[in-house]
Each structure stands twice: as structure tokens, then as C-alpha cells.
């Protein structure tokens, strides 16, 4: 009976702010840490050839061809660029940026076709598409070379 008397001292159990702030701080810290690691989905756009409608006659322009070999080796117009294990492709990026500048100066569209070996990894294609996105080249087509 004595214990009951102690508990109901005032008859008024107040809302405790201090523990609530503790909890809110912990939750906030958790979300702040998670915010740094959050993965955001990105997109690389491409247009399939052949369905574009044009009213004017189109000029033939130089087309750059990027080949992706089975082992991940990348060649631009038969010239090898970067190592097959490099994901950042610095040489290819620099060359593509120069190409884009030249194309802009000549007021011609920069057109790039990516031809991948059928068994080459898709991530390699995305590496190349990423390099093209850095160089701001939008006219990109992707195809797989015929094996047989």
C-alpha cells in the first residue's frame, strides 16, 4: 500500500520532454547517416534509329563507332582507349569531349554507335554511355554485333 502512495504522489504524470528529445535525436542521426549512403536511380537516354520523322533532308554526318570487346576492351574507331578494367574511362571521356566540341564548331551532330560483343558485360556498355553523358553527346545508338 505504501508503494501506491508514492506513485500517486501528485496524481499527475507529466509528459517527459527530455527522453522524447533523446529519441528524436537518435532517429534523426540515423536518417542523416542513411542520407549519405542513399542510392539514387539515374537514367541514360537513347533513341532507336529508324523511327525519327524529319521534314528536311538530312545530311550525312560522320559517325563514331565504339566497339566493346568480350573482355571489356574499348575501341573508338578501331583505336583502343583505357584499360579493360577501368570504369572511369578518362581517355575516352577526353576524346569524346573533343569530338563534341569539334562537332559543335562544325554545327554538325555528333553521332555515336556503340557496338558490343554479345557476351560482353552490360555494365561496360553503361560505362561507355556514362562517358558519352559526360561529353553531352545525345545521339547514341546501341547495338550488338552479329556473331554467326
Amino acid at each position: 500500500m505504501k508503494r501506491l502512495e508514492v506513485n500517486t504522489n501528485d496524481g499527475n504524470v507529466g509528459f517527459q520532454i527530455a527522453p522524447m528529445i533523446d529519441v528524436v535525436f537518435v532517429i534523426m542521426l540515423f536518417f542523416m547517416v542513411m542520407a549519405g549512403a542513399v542510392k539514387v536511380e539515374k537514367e541514360l537516354n537513347s533513341q532507336l534509329p529508324g523511327t525519327a520523322e524529319t521534314s528536311n533532308a538530312t545530311d550525312f554526318v560522320d559517325e563514331q563507332i565504339i566497339n566493346i570487346a568480350d573482355d571489356g576492351a574499348i575501341t573508338l574507331n578501331d583505336e583502343p582507349f583505357d584499360s579493360p578494367t577501368s570504369h572511369d574511362l578518362p581517355q575516352l571521356k577526353a576524346t569524346l569531349m573533343r569530338l563534341k566540341q569539334n562537332a559543335d564548331a562544325a554545327k554538325a551532330p555528333a553521332i555515336v554507335t556503340i557496338i558490343s560483343e554479345p557476351s560482353a558485360k552490360y555494365s561496360r556498355t553503361v560505362d561507355v554511355l556514362d562517358a558519352l553523358a559526360v561529353a553531352k553527346i545525345d545521339n547514341v545508338t546501341f547495338t550488338v554485333s552479329e556473331e554467326e
Binding site: 528529445i21 528524436v24 542510392k39 539515374k42 537516354n45 554479345p118 556498355t125 553523358a133
Partner: protein
């Protein structure tokens, strides 16, 4: 030496506005961390493309997931939660999706219906090419490849 405010007592620490601020920051961090969790196929490890543009979620689109089974060395296509082994099977479904999706396009959004290909990073390029062929056969020429910004 009265610094400001007036009144007679010392300035007190106000708990109520502090809780307001804390809850606002909390909600901010909660929204940015949980925004991207929806509708992502956990079995697919998306390739990394840090320089790609942020995904436009306003557009009408059909999402094709391309899975890769490393043990059996086989890829498969997932569309609307159903699995297909051949990309050709997707063509009628994509045509349907395009017809219904184009009706839903709201004003202001990009009016072109597109296909988003979400391929596993280890899948051979030929599977992605087959998925693109199906999109082309279904009359969808605007194709986006999905990637993530970091590992």
C-alpha cells in the same frame, strides 16, 4: 547591461520551438532516404553511372527488368512482375502498355512514351539488345537505361 528583450528574468531555453525544428529536420531526412526504395527489383544489381541524369519519374513508361542468373548463365526478362525467357514475348505486352500509357500522359509531362531497361550489371549485352528489339517492334523508340549513382 540589459541585452535585449526586456523583462526581468534570465532568457530561458525554449523547448517547444526546438522540437519543431528537430521534427522538421527529421521529416526532411526521412523523405530523402525513403524516396527511392519503391519498385526496385532486389535481385538486379544496377550498373554504376555517376554522370547520368536523374531519373524523370513524371513520364509514362514501361519498365523491363533484365535479370541474370550467374549459376545457370541465363538471363530473363521481367515485365509487370511476370518472368519471360524470350524477349519476343514482351512485344504484345509492350504494345498494350504503350496504348494504355499514352492515354494517361498528363499535361506538362514529356508526352513520349518510353521504355526503361533495368539490366543487371553482369548480364551480357545481347539480352539488353533483345529487350531493345522488343521495344522497337512494339513501336517504342525512346529508351532509357537505368543505373545508380554509387556502389
Amino acid at each position: 547591461m540589459a541585452g535585449g528583450g526586456g523583462g526581468d528574468g534570465e532568457p530561458e531555453f525554449q523547448v517547444a520551438p526546438m522540437i519543431d525544428v528537430l521534427l522538421t529536420i527529421l521529416i526532411f531526412f526521412m523523405t530523402i532516404t525513403s524516396a527511392q526504395v519503391l519498385k526496385v527489383d532486389k535481385t538486379i544489381k544496377l550498373p554504376r553511372a555517376p554522370d547520368a541524369q536523374k531519373k524523370d519519374n513524371q513520364r509514362a513508361e514501361a519498365v523491363i527488368n533484365v535479370r541474370w542468373h550467374a549459376e545457370t548463365k541465363k538471363g530473363e526478362f521481367v515485365f509487370n512482375d511476370k518472368t519471360y525467357t524470350k524477349a519476343e514475348d514482351l512485344v504484345p505486352l509492350l504494345k498494350n502498355a504503350k496504348a494504355t500509357g499514352e492515354k494517361k500522359i498528363v499535361q506538362g509531362a514529356n508526352p513520349v512514351f518510353r521504355a526503361v531497361i533495368r539490366g543487371d550489371r553482369d548480364v551480357p549485352a545481347v539480352y539488353v539488345s533483345q529487350a531493345m528489339d522488343s521495344c522497337g517492334n512494339a513501336g517504342i523508340s525512346d529508351i532509357s537505361f537505368s543505373a545508380v549513382n554509387k556502389e
